[in-house]
């Protein structure tokens, strides 16, 4: 089992390695990888030890080999479709985000309860009525659902996603939702990010 903070850092190393491949590098020292990822070299070595032993002291890591190892460990070896429920400001922005595509996440569909939005195009799809959610997920075997509806609807949307067969949920609504055991769940708290910055500004005596 890889601890969650390590998983998150592995995704950052993966991105840094992609940048290095684009720059034509073939080897990278743990110091260099640590600098690009904003951590220290000991942390890099410790995190990578969860993937087995490789890289020789003094020589560094093979960039492509390490990148492939991380992609495999993260389960990025196949394309995964995701759907978005709530085609508003944030949902539309996420539909158009190529950072998801680059890692093999494909925007499969967007759903909304507002009848005026249904049929409009966002990113590469047209917005569907929320009543089509269940039949779409079952027909396509979609694994991941993203929730970008107001907080008061988030739990009921999560329940419909689970019922439709979704296996993993990323929730942006500012409310902790409950999902059954076995359903993977992550919560993005953007307002908390600002509050933590405010705390640090406050303790610096602003």
């Amino acid at each position: 089992i890889i601890p969650e903070p390590t998983l998150v850092r592995l995704t950052i190393y993966g991105r840094c390695l992609n940048d290095l491949i684009e720059e034509g590098a073939t080897l990278v020292a743990s110091d260099e990888l640590a600098h690009r990822a904003g951590v220290n070299a000991a942390q890099v070595r410790k995190d990578l030890s969860y993937l087995g032993s490789f890289g020789r002291r003094g020589v560094g890591y093979d960039v492509r080999h390490l990148s492939d190892r991380i992609a495999t460990a993260m389960g990025l070896t196949k394309e995964r479709g995701f759907i978005i429920v709530g085609a508003g400001r944030l949902g539309s922005a996420l539909m158009g985000y190529d950072g998801f595509n680059k890692k093999g996440f494909r925007a499969a569909a967007a759903f909304d309860a507002d009848i005026n939005k249904v049929g409009q195009a966002i990113g590469s799809v047209t917005i569907r009525d929320i009543n089509e959610l269940s039949s779409f997920v079952q027909a396509n075997g979609t694994e991941i659902g993203i929730i970008t509806v107001p907080a008061s609807f988030a739990q009921s949307v999560a329940d419909s996603l689970v019922k439709a067969g979704i296996k993993a949920i990323l929730n942006f609504a500012p409310i902790v939702i409950k999902v059954p055991a076995g359903i993977r769940y992550r919560q993005v708290e953007l307002s908390s990010e600002m509050e933590v910055l405010a705390h640090y500004l406050n303790s610096q005596g602003d």
Copy 2:
């Protein structure tokens, strides 16, 4: 010093307490607060111990008192202006997000390098030219800058924010940027959220 994971959980307790106030509750047991925040009661008690001692066993916490204590600890006792650099899809969504307003963060201005966007309205402001950044920050004493430009421009935008006098940066571009000591910095990695979900799906044998 309060550890960062505790700070993030304190912001979630703060939001749960706001919900409780809206529901008319005056007292809350650590079990109930833990359930709403998606953690266990021992974690709640441990986190709150960083704020001093209060709440009597068996009686629970005074909702308003605890909410005020958390707001004070998080530095939410005054309004803080923020600016957004990169008025594209994500930047526009964030400008309109009322979750920031609710915690006292006010969208002061948005900047963009695309001359065709300058002058357009987003949220409650009109988009300004990036060249006005420095004079705006100095004239208004803005503390927080949000970066929503493509990764290749993020470091240079961060440098201009620091030079202009910004004290804290929230970066959404998928690249780790370097800031001088004393500048508070947080990085939001939305693609990592999806990758971590993919890892769990993969290890469940999807």
